[in-house]
């Protein structure tokens, strides 16, 4: 293992991606400098591979091979195709913000203003020389990661959302990413600031328009939730079956903040969702849950890093993967309890259900604990459907597939139940039902 030669730099093709795109990337001066530095960092690291511990099970040099060229800005025909895709995706009553191929599409978005919510586009802010801290929009405080750097270098657009103090918008905010171009990449970054005492639901959807194939969605979300804020964060990844979705969430919580996240992955060929969550104030709570429903040759990776940096916070992670055919599920969860983060209570439970002999599940639930008065635990199980349960159901008259479906639904149900909003829970459950129905 010591002899491995690690390619230190990217080949010409990846450098070209940046060089060719550079003129089209919004923001001059300090913004361009941040982009340049970020790209150099990415170029120096290259695509993550299995010898990078955090990417051990998701080797992008094998799975992605290369970064696709930046998608062209959408024209009217593209917007029409995107619109058709949106029709099937309506979350009842949500305030919708649509990004098509990495560009904000006002024509497709809900532009009515809502009390307590201010929406701007990342592009406009990067290009506005009056925004003093515009370059900071592309900076993050997370430990160096090649894909975050690539995203910082290439981000073209995104939503910049401010929810004002104590606001409680009646509608969820729904960011929809639509890809229409094949073999092209979209790079987006959204920044969400939820002020003290505000209460909001954020939904993110990732979909491909009919005919979009082999595209790449590179996204990042930077979310701050202030003291006493209550944030629900739902992700639905339903990309085309040959697409890649590489996404990062960077979440910082204040005092007494409630954060409840749920990530559902059913689409995409290669998906990586990495969430870095930091407790910045005491007495906060986070639920970080997820379900992956995979078949064919899908590969989905959920990597969660929770930093208990202050005392008296609690966290709970529940993750379920259903893996069929030759699909591959990865769960990496790390709980860091910093020195002095006493009275931390952190739990993590990950379970994988393998439905085929060629399915694969890798779990790496880690605990890093530097404080003594804590309650931390994790559990991980991997296995097939329980034969005795299956037989019981079949002896009661359920055909095999139906019996399996019932048990699979129960298996993912525990994680789904954690979605507090009933409408959203139904959206997630409906996705699972579609997946099961497609299994035949």
């Amino acid at each position: 293992m010591n002899l491995a030669l690690v390619k230190p730099t990217m080949d010409g093709a990846a450098s070209d991606v940046f060089a060719i795109a550079r003129d089209r990337l919004p923001g001059k001066g300090p913004v361009a400098e941040v982009r340049q530095a970020a790209f150099e960092d990415f170029a120096q690291k290259g695509l993550p591979h299995r010898r990078v511990e955090e990417w051990k099970y998701t080797d992008l040099r094998v799975l992605l091979r290369e970064v696709a060229p930046l998608a062209a800005p959408p024209d009217q025909a593209v917007l029409d195709r995107a619109k058709k895709t949106l029709a099937s995706l309506d979350v009842n009553g949500a305030h919708r913000l649509v990004l098509v191929d990495g560009a904000f599409a006002p024509q497709l978005s809900d532009t009515t203003s809502e009390a307590g919510v201010a929406v701007q586009t990342l592009r406009a802010m990067l290009e506005n020389a009056d925004v003093a801290a515009r370059a900071d929009l592309l900076r993050t405080n997370v430990a160096s990661d090649a894909m975050i750097s690539l995203n910082s270098a290439m981000a073209t657009d995104g939503a910049v959302i401010d929810v004002t103090e104590n606001a409680a918008p009646g509608k969820p905010i729904h960011i929809v990413h639509v890809a229409t171009q094949s073999k092209a990449a979209a790079f987006t970054r959204s920044l969400v600031k939820v002020a003290n005492g505000a209460r909001v639901t954020l939904i993110e959807s990732f979909v491909g328009a009919d005919g979009a194939a082999g595209y790449q969605a590179h996204d990042s979300v930077v979310l701050w939730a202030g003291d006493g804020a209550d944030v629900q964060h739902i992700r639905l990844v339903e990309d085309a079956r040959d697409a890649a979705n590489i996404a990062t969430a960077i979440v910082t919580l204040g005092e007494r903040t409630q954060y409840r996240a749920f990530n559902l992955t059913s689409g995409g060929a290669v998906c990586r969702y990495q969430a870095f969550l930091r407790f910045g104030g005491q007495n906060a709570h986070a639920d970080v849950n997820g379900v992956s429903l995979l078949n064919g040759r899908q590969h989905a990776d959920n990597t969660l890093v929770l930093d208990h940096a202050v005392p008296n916070c609690t966290s709970n992670e529940v993750f379920r993967a259903v893996v069929d055919d030759q699909a591959h599920s990865v769960f990496q969860g790390r709980i860091n309890v910093h020195p002095d983060a006493q009275k931390t209570d952190a739990r993590m439970m990950t379970r994988a259900l393998l439905l085929s002999d060629e399915a694969e599940a890798d779990n790496k639930p880690e605990l890093e604990i530097f404080a003594d008065d804590v309650q931390c635990g994790h559990g991980a199980t991997t296995g097939a459907l329980d034969d005795s349960l299956l037989f019981y159901l079949r002896a009661r008259g359920l055909p095999e597939k139906e019996a399996q479906a019932l048990l699979i639904q129960a298996f993912v149900g525990e994680a789904m139940e954690s979605i507090a909003d009933e409408t959203l829970r139904d959206v997630a459950i409906a996705t699972a039902e579609r997946w099961l129905a497609a299994r035949g």
Binding site: E360, D372, V374, G379
Partner: protein, 499 residues
């Protein structure tokens, strides 16, 4: 909370000078020049009067080692080791081959006496490392001992009786001369010379260690044990142990280790290979008590060990039990390759760290055969300013249908300046594999301590009680004589860690 403040205070004062085995033996020794080169490898091989193929094997490993880099993935932190500043060979001076134990240097005999290790068979018969009253009324069990002092084996007891049973138990340097075919057939087949930085170094320069061969159908008539002692200054110890349990045989092997208290760090890089053929069982127990360094974190042994068992035959079983209390740094992952159908691997571990000790230890259970099972029970206790990491891998190969694993790793923190970490990798490539993993980290409940203290126990006794309960599952796996010793060792290791 006064109790907690007191704990912190005690932790601050913690002094590992309570290490009981820190004395030094003054004897003349025969050393190779400092540093490592092909010449040193040749020197060692020559000293051991080894066959030519063995020298070639070592040289190949040495050349490979030159191209390798020290691993950095473990959660241990230490100044860079200067591999040219170490003696790779040191042996007590002796004029001729020993005819009997009486010819062993009396200083060495005294050393082992002080350590409580019986090298005289009649003493063994009279009872081994007995705890007062603990084993009264039972027939004393016998333990055959191989004593390794720095780079060489100085005595091996009960050889004649073992020979009668057909069991070969001797220093590996002797085995290379007396049973070259057996050694050649198995050496390096579990831990190849290219395996990792430390194992490759060991392959180049190992000086001694034990060799065990249990023939088909034989149940080894007594416990076998090796006692390792690093004495010489600046000397690395690189022992190599090879145990083969042929079809249907059984052997239980124990290993103990200590070193004198010294300010500089001592390097220990051992390799242990176990091979269990069809229906064979090997039980391997370790009580590791190398010098852990002093209260400032100065000195102590760097313990970089590669231990691996190969359940090569069907229905074979390998069980590792370890009590790790010593060493400044422990880097150790006794593993099982479950190759034979229906084979079973077990790993029971207690790892205690105090002072500035750093432990990164765990196991790998590699399921390759059908219906293979494994069980991992790990108990980590961190006190003082130590760091204690469990790192483990459980994997099921595509063809390992019906593989089963159960893992429980629990950590206990004593004081708020230490760290406990759990890094498990669980990899399933087959749907009929059933893996269950659970881990917890907590501190000793103040309520429990108070309850005990209210019932009349001192704070320290109460902690001892809780800790003993915490490690009980693992202690039960140790042969009895060792369990008693280990229990004492645990309380010594934690002395001063609580208020």
């Amino acid at each position: 909370m006064p109790a907690e403040l007191e704990t912190v205070e005690r932790v601050r004062r913690i002094d590992v000078d309570q290490y009981r085995y820190g004395f030094e033996t003054i004897i003349e020794s025969d050393k190779a020049p400092k540093g490592l080169s092909e010449d040193i490898v040749r020197f060692i091989s020559d000293k051991k009067d080894e066959p030519e193929w063995m020298l070639e094997w070592r040289l190949e490993a040495y050349r490979r080692w030159l191209t390798m880099q020290e691993p950095t993935w473990a959660r241990v932190d230490y100044p860079k080791i200067d591999y040219q500043d170490v003696y790779y060979y040191s042996a007590p001076k002796q004029k001729k081959a020993l005819a009997s134990l009486d010819e062993v240097d009396p200083e060495i005999l005294k050393t082992y006496e002080k350590l409580g290790i019986p090298l005289r068979e009649q003493e063994v018969l009279a009872g081994v490392v007995r705890d007062e009253g603990e084993t009264d009324g039972e027939a004393p069990r016998r333990v055959a001992v191989d004593a390794v002092f720095d780079s060489v084996s100085v005595a091996t007891t009960f050889q004649a009786e073992l020979k009668k049973a057909g069991v070969i138990f001797m220093p590996i340097s002797h085995a290379l001369r007396e049973h070259p075919d057996l050694v050649k057939k198995y050496l390096g087949t579990v831990v190849p010379t290219s395996d990792n930085f430390f194992a490759t170094l060991n392959s180049a320069v190992f000086s001694d260690g034990s060799f065990v061969y249990v023939p088909p159908g034989v149940r080894c008539p007594m416990e076998l044990s090796t006692y390792f002692r690093i004495n010489e200054r600046n000397t690395g110890q690189f022992e190599r142990t090879l145990i083969i349990a042929d079809k249907g045989s059984y052997v239980s092997y124990l290993e103990g280790c200590t070193a004198p208290q010294r300010d500089e760090n001592q390097l220990h890089a051992a390799v242990v290979e176990l091979i269990a053929l069809d229906d064979a069982e090997i039980k391997y127990s370790t009580v590791q008590n190398w010098y852990p360094g002093n209260s400032e974190g100065k000195g102590g042994v760097y313990n970089f060990v590669t231990k691996r068992g190969d359940c090569r035959g069907k229905n074979s079983k390998i069980s590792w039990t370890q009590v790790e209390t010593g060493s400044a740094i422990t880097w150790k992952y006794p593993s099982c390759i479950l190759r034979g159908d229906n084979s079973r691997g077990e790993f029971y571990s207690i790892a205690i760290s105090n002072g500035y000790q750093q432990v990164d230890s765990g196991t790998k259970m590699i399921h390759l055969g059908k219906n293979t099972t494994s069980r991992i029970i790990s108990k980590g206790i961190a006190a003082g300013k130590s760091q204690n990491t469990y790192r483990g891998l459980v994997s099921a190969h595509r063809k390992a249908t019906g593989a089963r694993n159960f893992t429980a790793c629990d950590s206990l923190l004593i004081g708020d300046k230490c760290g406990a970490h759990t890094v498990p990798y669980v990899e399933a490539k087959n749907s009929s594999a059933l893996f269950e993993h659970e881990a917890t980290t907590s501190k000793i409940s103040e309520d429990v301590l108070f309850y005990c203290v209210q019932r009349g126990l001192t704070q320290e006794e109460a902690v001892g009680l809780v800790v003993n309960g915490f490690v009980r599952d693992v202690l039960q796996q140790l042969p009895m004589e060792f369990a008693v010793e280990a229990q004492k060792l645990i309380s010594i290791s934690l002395e001063g860690s609580v208020g």
